[in-house]
């Protein structure tokens, strides 16, 4: 489903060139659960942003569902993000003036879905993350864990194939973090491809496949099964 081919990403900072990703070649199949770990500045977020089509590689190719994404224009990238990719961020990124439901409704509004369908799907998504009782709460009336659950509902409401999470538990305490991990693992169990950037080895180790980045290069790429005794 995802294929990265000799992918590079450079950043020009002054007259210095930062090599954030170096010659990354990688294949991820549908339904996999992948964790990306590595020290700070190793390129984890950069890789995730490219996978989420928020950023484009400096060289190399990114094939998504058999399509070369480098040929896509801005609108195609937006549409692909909308229909195939869900994001979860460390800082939730909920719109503060909107209720939980309205936040979940946002991507469906952008997709011009009609009101009844939005209602049905939105409530269903909130139900899946266990927030059916918090539909009309604003973010400031929710706990951190609940906010992240709203964000997950928003990420899955368009029924994407891929869920990208950049340190989804980074702003949460252990208990809330566990809950979130539970929810996304369950989503993965239902067939959603999961790619999680994390600093927490306990979370990273649970993934089916573990990637380790160092200075923009993939240094480890192993399946859990291989590491099992």
């Amino acid at each position: 489903m995802i294929r990265l081919d000799h992918l590079n990403r450079y950043f020009q900072v002054g007259d210095q060139q930062v090599h954030a990703l170096e010659d990354v070649t990688l294949t991820i199949d549908s339904g996999e659960s992948v964790s990306i770990m590595g020290p700070s500045g190793s390129g984890k977020s950069t890789l995730l942003n490219i996978l989420g089509l928020l950023d484009t590689p400096s060289s190399g190719e990114y094939w998504l569902d058999g399509v070369n994404t480098s040929g896509m224009d801005n609108n195609e990238l937006a549409t692909t993000r909308q229909s195939r990719i869900g994001f979860i961020f460390q800082s939730f990124h909920l719109v503060p003036r909107m209720t939980a439901f309205e936040n979940v409704e946002l991507p469906m509004m952008l997709a011009e879905m009609d009101k009844e369908q939005r209602r049905e799907r939105g409530l269903q998504a909130l139900d899946r993350v266990g927030l059916i009782g918090r539909v009309d709460h604003r973010p400031d009336q929710l706990s951190g864990g609940e906010r992240q659950r709203v964000a997950i509902a928003r990420a899955i409401v368009m029924q994407p194939r891929i869920l990208l999470a950049d340190e989804p538990t980074g702003n949460l305490d252990t208990a809330a973090g566990k809950e979130i991990v539970g929810i996304i693992e369950e989503l993965n169990a239902q067939g959603l491809t999961l790619i999680v950037v994390t600093h927490d080895p306990k979370i990273g180790e649970r993934a089916g496949r573990k990637l380790r980045l160092l200075d923009g290069k993939i240094v480890t790429n192993r399946n859990s099964s291989a590491s099992l005794p």
Binding site: T80, H93, M109
Partner: protein, 402 residues
């Protein structure tokens, strides 16, 4: 995004930042209100002057001593010099023209008027019985100057309402002998409620026969000769004839200015229309200032909501959708400002109407319409650049709030 949803989102944002919304709303509303009030002021002044000239009389041709430099009309004619007197004989000669129906010579001065120990200073108008008709005045009581010959000084006078009230109190005015300057005259009538009139306040004046006025002011020279032409069409002929006759009588010199009411009216109309446009323009400039404010505040809004824009992009919003969203906000603000401004403008006009009861404040529709249109245009024009900026933001940087 559907229009409805977009409006909903835009409204949500406006409600969420009430201070910002209120600020921009006020700016736009002030601009629109300024246009509405200023133009209604201009219009009120214009229609006031127009009405004044209507009350001057019908088919009126006015002869003024002295030749103005601009012969075709315009304000220059008001300030001509007086090289040769305009006399009663001149006035009488004008009746030779077949286009002239009636003439009324006019002398103007000021004298003290007294009765039974009460005294006041009044404008004195010397004229003939025809004046009543030519100026289309009416009588409240009694009759106008009795039908005396133009050349005879009769000891009669007609007084305005204020003069009656102040001098005669509640005595019956007709037949009373009052003193005008150094001579006595019998009151034959009280002028009707014609109210103001362009040249004089009818309520304040005392009218005496023109010859009496000449004696009173010790001068043969007339202030004006008012002429009523036979018809509207005859006005041009009358004007020509008057010039010719006066020229004959004044040794071949055309030393008078002959104007028609229409020409004066047209001049004033032009002046006041220009004035209305000018003040309307000033109001419009304040609207553009409001537009610049909208732009600045929208730019601030974009930078305040950078993360939200980044999020929208991550959720699959296209550039066009984001542009539309922010543009909708700007236009909403402008539209609400326009509505409030129009309401304020009308309220202020009504208020002005209560204060200046003589004027009629009716905001001209063209001005209201263009103020609203300019406000909306400002919303679009000044909203587009912040909206574009929002749409062009890099999603990753925007999400990071940079």
């Amino acid at each position: 995004m559907r229009l409805n949803d977009r409006n909903l989102l835009a409204m949500g944002a406006l409600v969420r930042y009430p201070l910002r919304t209120l600020m921009m709303l006020t700016a736009t509303a002030m601009g629109v209100a300024a246009v509405v009030v200023l133009t209604s002021l201009g219009e009120a002044a214009r229609s006031y002057v127009a009405a004044e000239f209507q009350s001057l009389g019908t088919h009126l041709v006015i002869v003024i001593p002295g030749r103005s430099e601009t012969s075709g009309g315009g304000l220059g004619m008001m300030i001509g010099q007086t090289p040769r007197d305009l006399t009663l004989a001149d006035a009488q000669a004008l009746l030779r023209s077949s286009a002239v129906k009636k003439i009324a010579p006019m002398m103007v001065g000021s004298a003290s008027v007294s009765y039974d120990g009460l005294e006041r200073e009044s404008p004195i108008l010397g004229s003939t019985p025809e004046l009543l008709d030519v100026r289309q005045w009416s009588m409240a009581l009694g009759e106008f100057l009795p039908n005396v010959d133009m050349e005879r000084a009769a000891s009669v006078c007609v007084i305005g309402e204020t003069v009656r009230r102040e001098l005669l109190r509640d005595q019956p005015p007709i037949g009373k002998w009052i003193r005008v300057g150094d001579r006595r005259c019998r009151v034959t009538g009280v002028l009707g409620n014609a109210g103001r009139s362009v040249m004089v306040d009818v309520d304040e004046i005392v009218v005496i026969p023109v010859v009496s006025a000449q004696a009173l002011f010790n001068s043969p020279s007339l202030f004006r000769i008012l002429i009523q032409a036979k018809s509207r069409e005859a006005m041009a002929t009358a004007q020509r004839d008057v010039r010719r006759i006066i020229k004959e009588r004044h040794q071949g010199e055309e030393d008078v200015t002959v104007i028609t009411q229409d020409a004066v009216l047209a001049t004033f109309d032009g002046i006041f229309s220009a004035l209305t446009y000018a003040v309307g323009g000033i109001g419009a400039i304040s609207l553009i200032v409001a537009g610049v404010l909208i732009m600045n505040v929208m730019l601030i809004a974009v930078s305040q909501r950078t993360r939200e824009i980044g999020l929208l992009k991550a959720l699959g919003a296209r550039q066009r959708q984001i542009t539309a969203l922010f543009l909708t906000e700007a236009v909403f603000l402008a539209a609400m400002g326009a509505v409030v401004g129009v309401a304020l403008g009308y309220l202020a006009s009504i208020g002005l109407g209560l204060i200046y009861t003589d004027l009629e404040f009716q905001p001209p529709l063209w001005a209201v319409g263009s103020a609203v249109l300019i406000a909306l245009a400002c919303g679009v024009i000044f909203g587009i650049s912040p909206a574009r900026r929002a749409a062009k933001l890099d999603p990753i940087k925007a999400l990071a709030g940079k």
